[in-house]
Assembly symmetry: C2
Homo-oligomer: 354 residues x 2
């Protein structure tokens, strides 16, 4: 039955490498957390520098009373990536993760997926690497002291990325829940930080060149008020990332030079949802590609209003795909039907019975 | 470290059942191809009947010179499903599938995925089941003879779905490539059909109450011209499913009562892209929910302008999820990070080293 003109498919093209949670942890530990984020930041830098050529869209978001499920696609014309990610603040109370994620990288030429990976860890790593990359461009120099307000799942990754990429070695921690701060303190012991645990956000920001806000409430919150923010600092605002979820008082925004990932998405999801739609912001890629202004004076307040964008996940996916060449920490998934003759799907099914 | 208020996560919630291609084939064979499509058509009927409550959006499509990669999400408020699917007509020449797909079903309440499955086979099955469901509502009765123009990967599934669901037992096959027709004929031997192989589309449509067009060219093609289509038939137009890809002459559309899945998407992708944007069409769910007219006279031409919609994939995903209770044909994937304490993702990573 097989006609002469049907070529043999490339070996194994129907098999998709799958990086499980267990394999991702082994991969990160094999590379080292800090080196992983530094190399990932380099991939991010490359992709921010060629930002204009990416196919971009605001994420697809399916909102419910309990949370949101999102699909975040991006393509550079050669590879196509997307992340599935949920955000359910109430999950924590049920022993579940607020955010879980997985992602796919595909070959644009064939349309075939070439990687499936867990992305709960990978998102934590890319978020921190992106924050540190932005701070390297925007924070005052040197910047050795960082306040971290919100000491949940993202806090340690932020700390380590900023140490490796920016040179931060003094942390000032605050969380409304002292348990979270203790957890963070314990986890970062022996990592080369001087760490102060603080009783209030006001105390945390004292003397910090960088202030990272990374809280998780799904509501308008005011983690930082205007009087807490002095001249010359860099604010790394991570926690406000969906409609109705912000962390900074509007007056801080008015005093800051604001940097965003992808303006159309950040207008909806970021701190700047509090501002008029024509308030000027700069997309971060412009600073990285030398097409826009970074920090220009010592007393300027720079603000990275980060919501997380699909290109960052794309960078993370292609970095992991590259790592698998050196570290074969994956399983093979039989995910794509691969009949000998593409038009004979039904025949493949029937022959599988025999 | 673990605080008292962190409850234990539900057992196994971080593990996602994965239906591989091999398991899908075993599942379909265990249920039986015809019964599988009949039960799936019943799930489709249920979901079409409650169409209005679904969250709907035109698919996200990433086009390239070689093809398209699409994400097709849908939610009923309890479950969220999406399909990844590519369409690369040139793949066939390279021994690859034109269309491959996989899908995810998630729990809206937690945001956690509950099923990952191959969907190359499943899409073939749901496309045929949807066609047959539409024909059961719209075709003249009885309809025993169907022309199938285009005898590729979808043809046998169409034939078997129409036999099981509509009562078709006479087929008239045509393809520009005689190999495809021979393949189809061989595969359908012993399935209870009387089959005529035809030398032209004109010959194929002779005496057919139902005409199925399911060709694969990515260009404006005219598979059916106006003079070929007599009164009283039902046209099941499957192949035209993206901008620039149509199968029917415009004059046929002008003489037909046109039924679509989701009007905003079909205006872009379906046969009706050839028509003015206000040309009247009826969404199929209205016929199924008794909210719109079906066939009203014996000489009416009904046309199902099918492009495939996300809710159909949703129906297929929930059907497969249900089947897994009876047929445990899946693997467990460690896809979601599940720390003992949700805020201690970094601690989970560190402890995994020990």
């Amino acid at each position: 039955m097989k006609p002469q003109f049907a070529p043999t498919p490339p070996e194994g093209v129907n098999i998709v490498p799958f990086v499980s949670v267990d394999h991702m942890m082994k991969l990160v530990l094999a590379v080292g957390v800090e080196r992983f984020m530094a190399e990932l930041a380099e991939c991010l830098r490359e992709d921010f520098a060629r930002w204009a050529l990416f196919e971009k869209a605001p994420r697809y978001a399916s909102h419910s009373r309990e949370g949101v499920i999102e699909l975040m696609p991006a393509s550079d014309g050669t590879s196509f990536g997307f992340k599935y990610v949920n955000g359910h603040p109430k999950n924590t109370k049920e022993g579940l993760q607020t955010v879980t994620a997985f992602g796919i990288l595909s070959d644009v030429y064939t349309g075939y997926p070439v990687l499936l990976t867990e992305m709960t860890f990978l998102t934590a790593l890319r978020t921190a690497a992106t924050s540190a990359l932005a701070a390297k461009c925007l924070a005052p120099k040197p910047a050795r002291t960082m306040a971290i307000i919100g000491n949940g799942a993202q806090a340690e990754f932020q700390a380590l990325a900023f140490k490796e990429i920016v040179g931060v070695d003094r942390l000032r921690l605050f969380d409304i829940d002292p348990y979270a701060t203790r957890k963070c303190l314990t986890n970062l012991r022996g990592k080369g930080f001087h760490i102060a645990t603080c009783a209030s956000p006001e105390e945390a920001v004292e003397g910090a060149e960088i202030v990272t806000t990374v809280t998780a409430d799904k509501q308008y919150a005011t983690i930082l008020t205007d009087n807490m923010v002095g001249a010359g600092i860099h604010i790394n605002a991570i926690g406000g990332d969906c409609p109705g979820k912000t962390e900074l008082h509007k007056d801080i925004l008015m005093r800051s030079d604001i940097y965003v990932e992808y303006e159309p998405q950040t207008r909806i999801e970021g701190e700047i949802q509090q501002l008029p739609h024509d308030h000027p912001v700069t997309e971060l890629w412009k600073v990285i590609a030398d097409e826009g202004p970074g920090r220009q004076s010592a007393d300027q307040i720079t603000l990275f209003d980060s919501v997380g964008f699909a290109i960052e996940d794309f960078s993370a996916l292609r970095y992991v795909k590259r790592l698998l060449r050196t570290y074969p920490l994956y399983d093979d998934l039989d995910m794509l039907a691969d009949p000998d003759e593409p038009r004979d799907l039904y025949g493949m099914l029937m022959r599988s019975a025999g």
